[in-house]
């Protein structure tokens, strides 16, 4: 490649950032997490001085990067979006706006600390307030990256539950039929850190890095993988299955500690306060006459949507083409109504106050819960053991891939 071609490529890569919003995100936490997960075995190979100095360099990095009180910009950043998206209604990206993606991806930046990638075919409403940013996902999938700080919360709400975090990276995917809550499932996958999922009528669940869980009327609870030790044929497959069994046992122990911590007097009180605040807010909201009208209108739109879906399922391909516009109109109407419902909650002072109380109570509960878990030595040890197993699993997977590749090459 010539010099001019490289310059062209440089501009091309910069345009991906400037136009498509593929910006470099902060990787410090991921690097630290990966360094920690590899650390246990590597320490034996490293010179202790090198390890100490390396940790110093990384810690200095986190210290410099970590947001500090007092250096917050004076103006709170408004919601921003880039990529391929449409905004319903007034076509402006702001709180209450309904953002839709079709064939491409869109990126949202909320409060300067929550970066959300909306996958193609997703709809989300921007909700929340300063330092308690929130989106309401009505369909599709989002990947969220949240820069952690104790006094900031980020939540993804769906009809099936709420995923709340104070700093992590995770995805939320809604599958199943639109506007039919009974047929929907919410899949949460954690990439880095820990998230708390509060679902309808169930006690909160905690998901850690590498874990995934499914919620919904049909498939409630945490997703689990069945170990297949009896099906394993090769030594590597057996080792992999053994690791899975051990992982399950350790995770069960960890879950037990999490449940015990939830019973701790201080945490339980904070959780009760959070639940009471949520109940107070929802009762007031449901009693509001305007909210009731909006809710009724949304239910009517959902029923119409279901009818149309049933008709289309029975019909032919041409019917689908003909009704496409109606289909998209109903979907948009439903999301718009949801946006209006969220806006109402912010516009009525009493409701806004109750919502703030609800979010503050949730932050207080999450912080207390995390602090208690962090202080539990057994919990920390289990975490380290699980990280060790995850490292073995990665190595076994690498070797299995290598074996498959060698076999394929030999077959050729």
């Amino acid at each position: 490649m010539k010099r001019e071609e490289w310059t062209d490529r440089l501009v091309d890569s910069f345009l991906q950032e400037a136009v498509a919003g593929e910006w470099p995100s902060d990787q410090t936490r991921q690097i630290l997490a990966r360094a920690a997960s590899r650390g246990r075995r590597r320490v034996r190979a490293w010179a202790p001085l090198a390890a100490a100095a390396a940790v110093l360099v990384l810690t200095a990095g986190v210290w410099t990067w970590w947001p500090k009180k007092g250096v917050q910009p004076p103006v709170y950043p408004p919601p921003a979006a880039s990529g391929a998206y449409t905004v319903e209604g007034d076509a402006q990206v702001r709180r209450g706006a309904v953002i839709e993606t079709h064939e491409g991806e869109a990126r949202l930046l909320l409060g300067g600390y929550a970066r959300i990638t909306m996958r193609p075919g997703s709809t989300a409403v921007i909700a929340g307030r300063e330092n308690a940013e929130e989106i309401f996902l009505t369909r599709g999938e989002v990947e969220c990256e949240v820069q952690g700080r104790k006094d900031r919360l980020f939540s993804v709400q769906t009809e099936l539950g709420t995923v709340s975090v104070v700093g992590t990276r995770f995805t939320v995917q809604l599958t199943g039929e639109e506007n039919d809550m009974n047929a929907k499932t919410m899949l949460v996958k954690v990439i880095v850190g820990t998230v708390m999922v509060t679902s309808l009528g169930a006690s909160p669940s905690v998901l850690h890095a590498g874990e995934r869980g499914t919620w919904g009327r049909r498939r409630p609870g945490l997703g689990t993988e069945r170990p297949t030790i009896q099906d394993a044929k090769t030594p590597l497959e057996k080792a992999r299955a053994a690791c899975s069994l051990q992982e399950r046992a350790l995770k069960a122990q960890r879950q037990q500690i999490e449940n015990d911590v939830l019973q701790d007097a201080e945490v339980a009180a904070a959780m009760k306060a959070s639940q009471a605040a949520a109940r107070a807010y929802h009762t007031e909201l449901n009693d509001h006459p305007e909210y009731g009208d909006l809710k009724q209108a949304r239910e009517a739109a959902a029923a119409e949507f279901q009818k149309l879906m049933a008709r289309l399922r029975r019909g032919r391909r041409e019917d689908w083409q003909k009704n496409r516009q109606e289909f998209s109109k109903l979907r948009t109407r439903s999301a718009e109504l949801r946006g209006k419902m969220l806006k109402l909650a912010e516009a009525v002072p009493e409701l806004a106050e109750l919502k703030k109380k609800k979010q503050d109570a949730l932050i207080s509960f999450l912080t207390k819960y995390q602090e208690k878990l962090n202080a539990n030595k057994e919990y920390a040890d289990l975490g380290k053991q699980l990280e060790g197993i995850a490292e073995w699993v990665r190595e076994i997977d690498d070797q299995m891939t290598e074996e498959r590749r060698t076999r394929r090459d030999a077959d050729r």
């Binding site: 490289w6 950032e17 990966r34 100095a53």
Partner: protein, 168 residues
Amino acid sequence: MLVTEHQAELYRYVKYLGADHALAEDLVQETFLATLKGAWPPSLSDVPRRGAWLRGIARHLLLRHWEREVRSPVRLDSRALERAEQVWTGTFPGGEDGTLHVEALRVCVEQMPERSREMLDFRYSQRKSRSEMAAAFSMSEHGVKSALQRIRARLWECVQARLKLEGA
């Protein structure tokens, strides 16, 4: 310090060499993890030299990734990568991470004629293929390729002029 000062530069560098967003993020992590294993940076106070050292590691990791990926469409040898490095150091002699260039580029894109902006939107925001763009703009695929190259060249001139004006 090492991570915060160089992660944006490394991300942009590996993307410039041909990595996509996910691979670029992964390589940035791998590069810093690799620094934990072995040698120390040449000098903690010499930012450009430290950047060059980290870019060398990232380049090596990218080459290894391409060697492993049998189906990878990208193929570059070490000589081509050396030339790429020359262009990079020529553009950022002081070890800058490219943020100023991207910001200037954003402004320049807004100043482009409407058709050019539309083409950029199709190519980068909507990720349309060359054939889809050719159909949408009533051009041949080769025409789309040349038009995009011309737009990029004009944008680069604009970026350089802006940065010169701002004294960067």
